[in-house]
Structure formats: structure tokens, C-alpha cells
């Protein structure tokens, strides 16, 4: 099976081949290096004029992309590490996401900002964070995250085809992952339902009736699956998993359908716990269903440490998910 990286790279190649408005911008994205995580590899060789290596100027790169998008191009920006989204916050919040609405729907801003997020590689406090939560709930901005189940190529193609700005969050550990195949490996016992739309959500339903629902996105689906297997093997507890591709705006319909069956919600994310994705998901679920039980698993409210022992202790683990699930069904 191709890896997530292969599929993302293919989507970029395909977009550049089929639409000459598509332009790449980013730091160190030229061949032979091909970007810090190699997602843009091969592009500058094939499309030398439309792959622009930039100075180390994150704010300006995204600003430039906004201007290009307003004037008829479809820029795709790579921000080398997700931690640097703090530097592009003004462009995303006060420019990209504002123009269409603020100019009374007279313009479109088809910008994609791709960035690798997440830890577990020992990169330390400023190169390991999951900061996407800072951009959830910004009107006019979509936040989307690929995973190894849906096709990352289709997801990225949809983002590039989107007329609105998209922050596309790629977890670093996903890059080397081969795509998963429903009905194979540890997905064998799950029936997979997929919503329609550009950024689908997936519901994994076990053979027997489930006692809780795990909501997650991106790389944390890998942990959620491992936890689900453990819960089944060690505790005979079946779980449903709802895996989102679109984080914001929040569209939780498939989760609500699952919760009607299980009435117990466990959210899993790698960002810090406070005011995270799970907090909003839980709030919306509880507002909707009386008597719902909820737990959240997330990183501790600490920077992500460099040492593996510390990093492992700070970021959520499979065992954390299992423990939370057990406390939820007890």
C-alpha cells in the first residue's frame, strides 16, 4: 500500500498537472531536498516556475498566497512545522478567513496552508505541538486533517479545489504510514461507514453492539484503533470509532448518530486538554443529548518535552485511552 506521504505528494503533482493556477510556496521545498518532510518532492523539477521557494517569512508567505488567491490563482503553502502557525495567525484570522464574507461574497480565497503537526519524534517543545485547536471555530476558515483510512490524496485534492481557505494539518507520524484497508488487518471486525462531502467522516462499527464511541482525527485514529483492540481482547468491550477529516467548522452528525447507540463519548486528541477540540465536541454532544457520559483524552497542559520518557508521559497514549474508556463504562 502507498503511504500517506505518497498520496499527499501524488495529490500535489496531480493538482499542478491539471490546473495551472495551482502554485506551491514554502521554505526549502525545492528539489532535491523537496521540503522538510518531502511532501513536495519532485514538484519543482516538473514545474520549476510554479514552485516557489521562499525566504523564512511565514506571515508574508501566507499573505502572498492570500493575494494570489484573490487574484485568480490557487496557491498551496507549506509551513515547515505546525508550530509556526502562530506566525501566520494574522493572515489566517484577519485576512484569509475574512475577505469572502467581509467583501459580501464578491471574492473567493482558495488558499491551502499545509503543515505537519504533532510530536512523538523527540523534536522538543517548539517542533512537536498540535496547535490546530487555535484555529478551530474561526468563521470562514476550514481546518482539515488527513488520516490513514480515508485517502489523503482525495482529501488534499478537495482542499485545493475548495474556494475557501483550508488549514490542512498533517501529523508527522502519518507520513510513513501505509494506507489502511477496511476489512483487513485490525480493521477486519469493523464495518466502515463514510459520510459524503469533500471532507468525509468515518464511523467504524464493530460486529457486536458497542458500549462507547471514540471521536478522533488524524494520527490519533491509530491510537484509538489500538485501544479499541485492547478493549475488545482484554475487556470484551466493543467500541465505535468516529474519525473526522474536517475539524472546523464542526459538523458532528455522524458522531451524534453513534452516540444515540452508545450514549458514551470519549474524545482523543494530541493537543493540550484545555479548550481543545474535544472540549467543543463534548459540549455540543452534551447540549444535544441529556445524560450523556463524557471523557476527554489529550496531552497534559505542558509543553512537549524532548526526552522520550517525558514526551511519552505528556502526550496521550493507548493506555490512557483504554483507561478513560474503562472509567466511562464502569
Amino acid at each position: 500500500m502507498p503511504t500517506v506521504l505518497d498520496r499527499l505528494n501524488l495529490a500535489l503533482h496531480y493538482a499542478m498537472e491539471t490546473d495551472e493556477r495551482v502554485t506551491m510556496l514554502g521554505e526549502d521545498i525545492l528539489d532535491p531536498y523537496g521540503g522538510a518532510f518531502k511532501v513536495t518532492r519532485g514538484l519543482s523539477t516538473k514545474f520549476p516556475k510554479r514552485v516557489l521557494t521562499t525566504p523564512i517569512s511565514e506571515a508574508a508567505i501566507v499573505g502572498v498566497a492570500n493575494g494570489m488567491a484573490l487574484r485568480g490563482l490557487r496557491p498551496v503553502v507549506e509551513i515547515m512545522f505546525g508550530d509556526f502557525v502562530t506566525l501566520i495567525a494574522d493572515q489566517l484570522v484577519n485576512h484569509s478567513s475574512k475577505f469572502r464574507w467581509m467583501y459580501n461574497d464578491q471574492v473567493r480565497v482558495p488558499v491551502v496552508v499545509r503543515t505537519p503537526m504533532g510530536g512523538r519524534r523527540g523534536y522538543g517543545p517548539t517542533h512537536s505541538q498540535s496547535l490546530e485547536k487555535l484555529f478551530l471555530g474561526v468563521p470562514g476558515l476550514k481546518v482539515v486533517a488527513p488520516n490513514a483510512l480515508g485517502d489523503p490524496a482525495e482529501l488534499l485534492a478537495a482542499a485545493i479545489a475548495d474556494d475557501d481557505p483550508v488549514l490542512f494539518v498533517e501529523h508527522k507520524l502519518l507520513y510513513a504510514r501505509p494506507l489502511l484497508e477496511p476489512g483487513k488487518g485490525d480493521l477486519i471486525d469493523f464495518q466502515v461507514e463514510q459520510t459524503g462531502g469533500a471532507y468525509p467522516a468515518f464511523t467504524l462499527r464493530p460486529a457486536d453492539s458497542a458500549r462507547l464511541t471514540i471521536a478522533c482525527y488524524g494520527y490519533n485514529f491509530e491510537l484509538a484503533r489500538a485501544a479499541a483492540l485492547d478493549l475488545l481482547m482484554e475487556h470484551e468491550i466493543f467500541v465505535e470509532i468516529v474519525l473526522f477529516s474536517q475539524l472546523s467548522p464542526f459538523d458532528l452528525a455522524p458522531l451524534f448518530s453513534s452516540l444515540v447507540r452508545t450514549r458514551k463519548l470519549l474524545t482523543v486528541e494530541e493537543g493540550t486538554l484545555s479548550l481543545g477540540w474535544g472540549a467543543e465536541v463534548a459540549a455540543r454532544a452534551v447540549e444535544r443529548m441529556d445524560g450523556l457520559r463524557v471523557r476527554r483524552v489529550a496531552a497534559l497542559d505542558l509543553p512537549v518535552a524532548n526526552a522520550k520518557s517525558l514526551e511519552d508521559a505528556i502526550l496521550p497514549s493507548v493506555q490512557d485511552i483504554v483507561n478513560a474508556a474503562l472509567s466511562l463504562v464502569s
Binding site: 508574508a60 499573505g63 484573490l70 459580501n104 471574492v107
Partner: protein
């Protein structure tokens, strides 16, 4: 003579528009804030007399003068400022956030500069022949995104004109407290040629603008135009720490007086009456227009 009259009339249109606007605040017809262009009219009138109608413009918070000199309709701007559905952006943007044809503005200092830089890149890639203009004030020299953009614009030889209107104040902060070193040196450091004028004479500004616009259109790369000028009104409404004496002193540089001296008394009167009719019509019509409604968005 004809273009002397036209330049005068553009400046007068801006002046009377802004005056009317400020007076409408007291009648309660306007909400929020505004940044009057009064005193700086020669900049916009001079620059837009040498640009092409299709050129792309990104303006800042003080955008009304730029918009009117660009050829924007006073009525649509008035309607926007009065929060009407017929406004430039349907009442969603207000004073600082407008868009019409190839004119855009946003109220975030600095952030518009990379956006304009990207617009220039798009026009270059699409080989449209359009140049892009972006307007900043002296205070905006403090924003880092500006320098990232100067670097990129110069590296990529973009057809963009950076217009720096130095009205010697950023809100209440005089330039001595806000800007260290040399203004022109900032652009020069990136290899961006500088045209610099300390004048409120629209003809001087027009000729400098003509040279810069030609340079940019020739494709040599970005250029900058630094115009030292005076803002006669408060920054927005009432935030003006300058002394009454200072406010009187700078009136000697009134661009309408400076350029008006080249016109006959009849021409000046003619300009006044034509402008008055346009402005009155704009505000009266806008005032009769409906307020926008939010459409079918619902609370969850």
C-alpha cells in the same frame, strides 16, 4: 488647465466627502469609526491620475480618499458607511473594509502588504500587465510583515508600488517616537528604488507618481513612493494630541489652497457646486436605502 481642474475636483470631492462624513456622526447616522483623509488629498489625487483603471489597489484603514480618487462612487461608499444593504460590501465591512472592482482595503496594519505582494505575483504570473499599489502609513513601518514583503517583492521582481504616506503621526504617536532611522533607507536596503517628496502640491506628487508608476510598469521590479504630508483632522474621531497652534500652522500646506491658486475663481466655484451636488445626492440616496439582514443563518 483641464487636468488642473480635474485634480482639484478630485481633491475637493474627497475633502467634502470626509467633512460630510464627520458631520454625519453627530447626527447619529453613522456608527463605529472613520479615518479622515483631510489634508492628504493630493497624494491620492496625484497618484490615481497616472494609474490605469485596471491596476490593483490595496488600501488601508484610511481608504476613502484612495477609493474616491480610484474612481469609486461616493454613493456606494456613503451607503457602506451608513451600514446599508446597497453599500460597497452590503454593510459587512464599513469604513475600513471595502472592495470594488480591483480596489480592496483592510484595517490591519501591515498584513495587507504581503497580500498586495501576492496580488502582484498573481498579475505577473497571469501576465495581465496590471501593476499593484499598496498604501501604508508611517506608523505601519513598525510592522514586521512589511519587511518580509519588501524582501519577497524585490527577490521576485514584482510589479508593485509601495506608497508610504508619512503624515508624521500614527494615531497619537508622532513619527519621532515611532520610527527610528531613515524611511527611504528601509526600501533602499532591499534594492527597491525610492521616490520621495515632501509636498502637498498635487502636481509635484503627480509627476513623482508618474515616474514611479512607469518604473513599476516597465517590469524592472518594485518601487516605492514616500510622500511626507499632513493630516488635518484627528486620527479617527477626537484622538488628536496636537496643539491648536500646530493645527493652524499646518493648514498653510492645504493642498486645496496650494493647487487652487492655479484655478480661476469661476473654476473653483464650479468645482464646489458640482462636488456639493454629488455628495449631497450620495448621502441623501444612501440614507433612504434599506439596512441589510442576516439571511438564513440560524443559531444552532
Amino acid at each position: 488647465m483641464d487636468h488642473n481642474f480635474a485634480l482639484y475636483k478630485t481633491m475637493l470631492l474627497i475633502r467634502r466627502f470626509e467633512e460630510r462624513l464627520l458631520s454625519e456622526f453627530s447626527t447619529g447616522k453613522l456608527v463605529g469609526t472613520t479615518h479622515a483623509y483631510i489634508g492628504q488629498e493630493a497624494d491620492a489625487a496625484g497618484i490615481f491620475s497616472v494609474t490605469e483603471p485596471e491596476d490593483v489597489v490595496f488600501s488601508n484603514h484610511r481608504c476613502h480618499g484612495h477609493f474616491l480618487a480610484y474612481g469609486g462612487e461616493p454613493y456606494r461608499l456613503a451607503a457602506e458607511l451608513m451600514g446599508r444593504a446597497t453599500g460597497l460590501v452590503g454593510g459587512r465591512g464599513g469604513s475600513q473594509h471595502i472592495h470594488w472592482r480591483n480596489f480592496y482595503s483592510n484595517g490591519i496594519q501591515g498584513g495587507i502588504v504581503p497580500v498586495a505582494t501576492g496580488m502582484a505575483l498573481a498579475e505577473k504570473v497571469r501576465a495581465t500587465g496590471k501593476i499593484t499599489l499598496v498604501f501604508i502609513g508611517d506608523g505601519t513601518l513598525g510592522e514586521g510583515a512589511l519587511y518580509e514583503s519588501l524582501n519577497i517583492a524585490a527577490l521576485w521582481k514584482l510589479h508593485i508600488l509601495f506608497v508610504l504616506e508619512d503624515n508624521r503621526h500614527a494615531q497619537t504617536t508622532p513619527v519621532e517616537k515611532g520610527v527610528a532611522g531613515s524611511m527611504s533607507g528601509r526600501f533602499a536596503a532591499f534594492g527597491i528604488p525610492v521616490w520621495e517628496r515632501d509636498t502637498t502640491d498635487v502636481l509635484d506628487i503627480r509627476s513623482a507618481a508618474d515616474e514611479t508608476v512607469r518604473a513599476v510598469r516597465s517590469g524592472a521590479g518594485p518601487a516605492s513612493l514616500i510622500l511626507h504630508t499632513y493630516r488635518f483632522s484627528a486620527h479617527s474621531k477626537g484622538d488628536d494630541p496636537r496643539s491648536p497652534e500646530e493645527l493652524v500652522r499646518i493648514r498653510q500646506f492645504d493642498p486645496l489652497t496650494v493647487h487652487g491658486a492655479r484655478l480661476t475663481a469661476e473654476e473653483c466655484t464650479k468645482a464646489e457646486s458640482e462636488v456639493d451636488a454629488v455628495i449631497n445626492d450620495a448621502f441623501v440616496r444612501a440614507d433612504a436605502d434599506p439596512f441589510p439582514v442576516l439571511g438564513n443563518q440560524v443559531r444552532r
